[in-house]
């Protein structure tokens, strides 16, 4: 939360800015907040501050860098950020702190309502959309834009450097810089994409490796494999193996090489001795390749324990052969017979089932042609009518004009097309039409018109004079927000016809976009970062403490939370589901982890939850509980901090330096986490923050560092009671849920702030808070539905308007 840091915003400069907007936008409807006593004068308001706040917040002590003495209730704009901070602390009940003089409850609430109303009213009269910097596409947005522009669904984002993050997200305009390294990579990647998409890739065979994510190698045992279906893309009765997407550059023959585990103690699992190969014809384009075994229904009789003593000569045993199926695009193309155990001179022993470690595809061989791929169809919207250069030029102009329009998100003219034609012509020389086109496509992909989202201001507009964002630019903001991509044809057309300013049309487009599969980007990119899901792959729970934590569990945890979030979006459910819900999404592995019976199979499905199961809502999901833990123990502080940051939008300041590690034992006695945390309560310097964080963490102690339920820790029964600074007592996850539900407006505000940060690609500032509150009120009036929150953000001043920057 940008403005929560000690910073001042001078709203005074913006007072008196000329408005270019219709008053209708500034719907006063949302301003009908809670009632307050209008007869109380501002002088009395100031008196209240002096009475209860100046013990600490005076000019001398300046606690938290703030003094209330210079504040003037008649001129909130002069200290906007400070007033917003005051509002936040008061509404949370954090100030005045326990032990200090407090006003009577009604008086405090009255003050809060007055303050909120006044701040909102001030902004309503002087809207401030904030600063909007020109913004580059981050690598995810780049990959999606390429997918939608060229119908080319190969994820090249791994070839681009990782983007820096700010405010918790990697799409923040100010943070996304351009460096020579990045430029170099863009040109490289654009070249690869343009060649593959047009069907001009290298004709030399190359190898693409698909490594399967596996559990850690266990010395002398090998790598675990399981008797269950490995992917929804594999046959129902299969076990093991893998399914993955491979982009075949040509209609040609390809060699599929399958590397099996050698199941021995020779750590090198990928070698030619355990490789099985077949050649298949593949059509150009994105193919799904699958390899799998058949599910074992009977006891495993192939395991041949061999003695490790004595001569290491392979016994002349009859090793059973297993059928291994290979599928392309869901249809089986071949079944190979492979030994059920690795045959080697040393060991013929297998602790784990025969399984696949890696699949490589080598090719193309015997190229037939570039094929009829979706990207070739999308790019070549015409073919030259004849072999003459004028016919070719005409068709090239048409192709490039169509692509440029969608790539640049606006109508294009010859000023845009002529330079592209120049590149086409140069590349065409000595080669052919398609080669020329591919060079121009590469140029489009590195041009600033594609890479940057630029916004314009009306000619002659004065700095400070806000205006509505033009339809085409709004369309780009929308598609980046909801799809992390460029607008599609329908959205572009609606914007070009200037229909997007009609609220009904805007609403309809937003609903359409949320229903579209491309809105998966919200789950992947917004939820993935808001909920720290991207950190899950880096968590390494200690193998001795959590021996059951395997690749399947890690993946299942992530899927549960992703499906949960996506479900709220898709079904337009209340965002309060995030705090507590009576359902979740499980598969067998995850259900076992939670101790829930009756869920069979690897596929995920929606499951109704009984309260006795202790699950439901984000705080009961293993993913969140795991990323807020250490490798070998839970962290009350990490979990508390996560809740403060992401649920209540009240992040604690950073800790002071040089804090010693926890004492796990004192006087030879192993202490519980609670006992170790005593210091947080005892020392006032620690207490100021930890009394806010720790209670939340304590209430979640029943979930261990991988999110499994437990009743005891360090041999003692867990004490999951907690007390907040304002005196509220609660107990365990159910108590936590009740406490959070009682602060649901605050949660909705926090959620809106996070989502707005993502939507605006900048930190949310103090002057944005009234807009946030407008969205919260709208949501409150509509059952807190997700689409209402999204729509509220889309229609908000910061999202739909723009302030021309100082020249």
């Amino acid at each position: 939360m940008a403005w929560n840091n000690v910073r001042r915003h001078n709203g005074a400069k913006r007072l008196g800015a000329k408005l270019l907007v219709s008053a209708g936008v500034l719907a006063a409807a949302g301003l009908v907040a809670s009632p307050f006593d209008a007869s109380v004068s501002t002088a009395e308001r100031k008196k209240m501050l002096l009475q209860y706040c100046t013990a600490c917040h005076n000019d001398k002590a300046k606690t938290a860098n703030m003094s209330v003495l210079p504040l003037n209730p008649d001129n909130l704009g002069a200290d906007n950020a400070t007033w917003e901070k005051i509002l936040r602390r008061l509404s949370l009940g954090e100030m005045p702190p326990k032990g200090m003089k407090r006003p009577p409850k009604e008086q405090l609430n009255d003050f809060v309502h007055w303050l909120e109303h006044s701040l909102d009213q001030r902004i309503a009269a002087n809207p401030d959309p904030g600063r909007a910097t020109v913004r580059r596409l981050n690598r995810t947005e780049y990959a999606n834009a390429v997918r939608d522009l060229l119908a080319f669904d190969v994820d090249m984002s791994k070839d681009l450097p990782v983007d820096d993050t700010g405010y918790g997200f990697d799409n923040i305009a100010d943070i996304l810089t351009v460096s020579p390294t990045l430029m170099d990579r863009y040109i490289n990647v654009a070249g690869k994409i343009s060649r593959l998409a047009t069907g001009q890739a290298s004709r030399n065979p190359g190898t693409t490796d698909h490594k399967i994510e596996k559990d850690l190698f266990e010395n002398a045992f090998g790598i675990a494999s399981y008797n269950e279906r490995a992917s929804d893309l594999l046959p129902l009765d299969s076990r093991g193996g893998t399914a993955f997407k491979y982009y075949a550059p040509y209609d040609a023959t390809y060699a599929i090489q399958v590397f099996l585990n050698s199941g021995t103690s020779t750590e090198s699992e990928i070698d030619a001795n355990n490789r099985y190969e077949l050649r298949v014809p593949l059509k150009a384009g994105l193919r799904t390749i699958g390899v799998s075994f058949r599910r074992k229904m009977a006891l495993n009789e192939e395991l041949i324990p061999a003695s490790t003593k004595g001569p290491r000569v392979p016994k002349a045993t009859n090793v059973t052969l297993l059928p291994m199926d290979v599928q392309v695009d869901g249809a089986r193309v071949k079944t190979l017979e492979v030994p059920s155990v690795a045959l080697g001179p040393n060991v013929s022993q297998s602790f784990y089932l025969r399984d696949v470690m890696q699949v490589s595809v080598v090719g193309p061989y015997d190229i037939q042609g570039p094929g009829d791929t979706p990207s070739r169809r999308k790019i070549f919207t015409c073919r030259p009518a004849s072999a003459s250069s004028s016919a070719e030029n005409a068709c090239a102009r048409q192709i490039l004009g169509t692509l440029a329009r969608q790539a640049y998100r606006r109508p294009v003219s010859s000023a845009d097309i002529n330079p592209l034609m120049k590149i086409y012509a140069e590349a065409r020389k000595g080669s052919d039409f398609e080669h020329g086109i591919s060079a121009s496509v590469q140029a489009i992909l590195v041009s600033p018109g594609f890479l940057f989202m630029t916004e314009s201001d009306p000619r002659g507009s004065r700095p400070g004079a806000i205006h509505r964002i033009p339809a085409l630019e709004l369309a780009t903001r929308l598609s980046l927000f909801l799809w992390s991509s460029i607008p599609d044809e329908e959205l572009l057309a609606v914007a070009e016809k200037r229909k997007l300013s009609d609220p009904a049309v805007l609403k309809q487009q937003v609903s359409r976009m949320l229903a579209d599969t491309r809105s998966k980007a919200l789950t992947d990119n917004f939820a993935g970062q808001w909920l720290y899901l991207r950190r899950l792959e880096f968590q390494k729970p200690d193998r001795r403490a959590y021996p059951d934590f395997d690749v399947r569990l890690r993946s299942a945890m992530k899927t549960e939370t992703e499906m949960f979030f996506a479900g709220v979006v898709r079904e337009n459910r209340s965002v309060l589901d995030f705090l507590g819900a009576d359902y979740t999404y499980l598969n067998q592995r995850l259900a076992e982890h939670y101790g829930i019976k009756g869920v069979n199979g690897t596929t995920f499905r929606k499951v109704q939850l009984e309260p006795a199961l202790h699950r439901g809502g984000l705080m009961g999901q293993a993913s969140v509980l795991t990323v807020t833990s250490y490798n070998n123990r839970t962290s009350v502080v990490l979990r508390g901090k996560w809740i403060l940051e992401n649920i209540l939008a009240a992040p604690p300041p950073p800790p002071p330096p040089d804090i010693p590690a926890l004492n796990e034992a004192r006087n030879g006695k192993v202490m519980t986490v609670r006992e170790q945390m005593e210091m947080h309560r005892k020392h006032p310097v620690c207490a100021s923050c930890h009394t806010k964080m720790d209670p939340f963490g304590f209430s979640l102690e029943n979930y261990d560092a991988t999110g499994a339920w437990r009743s005891a820790d360090a041999g003692k029964l867990l004490d999951v009671s907690a007390t907040l600074p304002d005196g509220t007592n609660f107990d365990g996850p159910k108590g936590l849920r009740d406490v959070l539900m009682s602060r649901k407006d605050q949660f909705v505000e926090a959620f809106t702030e996070r989502l707005m940060t993502y939507a605006l690609a900048r930190g949310v500032e103090a002057y944005d808070m009234p807009a946030v509150r407008l969205v919260r009120n709208a949501a409150r009036d509509d059952g807190y539905r997700m689409h209402t929150v999204v729509m509220g953000i889309v229609q908000s001043v910061p999202f739909s308007m723009r302030r021309p920057p100082e020249k």
């Binding site: 351009v178 790598i223 750590e267 920057p805």
Partner: protein, 418 residues
């Protein structure tokens, strides 16, 4: 990546390491005599033709690879300490701790002038994370290079990936295709620069600054292309080399391909620091092509069984053959008037002596390259740390470091350059 053909400074420093795992049969390694014109031992025989270009050094230890109270796990320790001289932390988890390795210290200096700071190459795929030697994470046996005490640099085993890292997406390096690629890039950059100018015309000052970053980066690349184009037609261009398809099945073919890439990287000055692991420490690879179908590591626990010892010696000799190939290729490749071998320092060897006892003393080591006086066997004083040799080598490369791991000073007798 575009090959920049700049005239190399006559004393351009190169630092390549070639590493053989799991120890060597010392009886067949250590030359009987010390000093000049010694007789080459059986394992060193493949290097006969190049005896002027390398020296053998004996009696170097890695005392920090001993258990020192940590129990089993000699392989994890010896590999992690080979270029660092550090006693690595016994852990299978995320808290790896070694030291900064010698090659990275050199890369810190020379990496600033080359496009790629260093290359870590291998012929055996790194094991998936887990435990590879009792209590030691696979990260320790997967690589020799550590850029910080907690950051191991993984090796690349796919020659195609190495090629693409060095030379980008092109299919081959012949002059015609290179020039074509350069021209296409140049014209795209022209277009892009014009477009950016148009765009920034209507922008505010702060937005212009953002776009400025973009334009500066574009100009940066344009300059590189111009330099490359100017040099592109000049004589002595890089050998034509086709992009490898993937990892060859045959060990020697794979080794040669990687060594070719090492040579190529030096020739084009894309990097001056490379390390090549002929196999992972604790390698389980077998070599049926030379009559050794057994896995390497189990074999290395030979228990003095003559049959096993013979097989191990065969493997060691095969590894030495690859080093001979390196020396040969570097000698034949021209760099200005001299050969590439005039400049580099190639320490090669293993981090274990006798593998059966996991000995960390008197490690088999040679140093090749134009900067050393070849054709001699230098026997250091007993208990000399290997890191002393490394300090002396770094001196030669103009990388002044006071201490590396457990070093106690320089190695006397080493620095006598022809």
């Amino acid at each position: 990546m575009i090959i920049t053909r700049k005239t190399m400074d006559r004393r351009t420093m190169l630092r390549h390491v070639i590493y053989a795992p799991t120890g060597l049969m010392m009886a067949s390694w250590t030359p009987a005599q010390a000093g000049e014109n010694y007789t080459l031992s059986p394992i060193l025989k493949p290097l006969e033709a190049h005896r002027e270009k390398f020296m053998v050094v004996s009696n170097l230890d890695h005392a920090q690879a001993e258990a020192l109270g940590d129990g089993a796990g000699d392989h994890g320790r010896c590999c992690g300490s080979y270029l660092t001289g550090a006693h690595v932390k016994k852990t299978e988890g995320a808290d790896l701790a070694s030291g900064v390795s010698m090659d990275q210290l050199v890369a810190q200096k020379y990496g600033e002038v080359t496009q790629i700071p260093s290359l870590e190459l291998g012929l055996e795929q790194p094991s998936l994370a887990g435990s590879c030697d009792t209590g030691y994470s696979c990260a320790y046996t997967n690589t020799l290079s550590w850029s910080t005490p907690s950051t191991p640099l993984p090796v690349t085993t796919n020659p195609r990936a190495v090629f693409e890292r060095l030379f980008g997406d092109g299919d081959s390096l012949d002059a015609a295709s290179r020039l074509a690629q350069l021209r296409r890039q140049a014209s795209i950059l022209d277009f892009v620069a014009d477009d950016a100018k148009r765009l920034s015309a209507g922008m505010s000052a702060s937005d212009k600054r953002k776009l400025d970053e973009y334009m500066t980066s574009v100009r940066d690349i344009e300059k590189r292309i111009q330099k490359a184009e100017a040099a592109g037609g000049a004589a002595g261009s890089v050998t034509t080399f086709a992009r490898p398809a993937g990892i060859p099945d045959d060990f020697q073919e794979h080794a040669r391909m990687m060594i070719d890439l090492q040579v190529l990287s030096a020739q084009s000055d894309l990097t001056r620091v490379t390390t090549l692991m002929l196999a992972r420490e604790v390698s389980g690879r077998s070599y049926p092509e030379i009559g050794v179908p057994d896995a390497h590591h189990p074999l290395s626990h030979h228990g003095n069984d003559p049959e096993k010892v013979a097989k191990l010696t065969k493997i060691n000799t095969l590894h030495m053959k690859q080093i001979a190939y390196y020396i040969q290729r570097m000698s034949e490749t021209k760099d200005g008037e001299a050969s590439l071998l005039a400049n580099p320092l190639l320490p090669a060897g293993a981090s274990l002596a006798d593998p059966n006892s996991h000995s960390h003393r008197n490690l088999p080591t040679i140093v090749a390259g134009g900067l050393v006086k070849g054709n001699r066997h230098l026997v250091a004083a007993k208990d000399t740390p290997m890191t002393n040799l490394m300090l002396s080598m770094m001196d030669m490369l103009d990388v002044r470091v006071d201490k590396l791991g457990d070093s106690t000073g320089r190695l006397p007798g080493f620095a006598s350059v022809a």
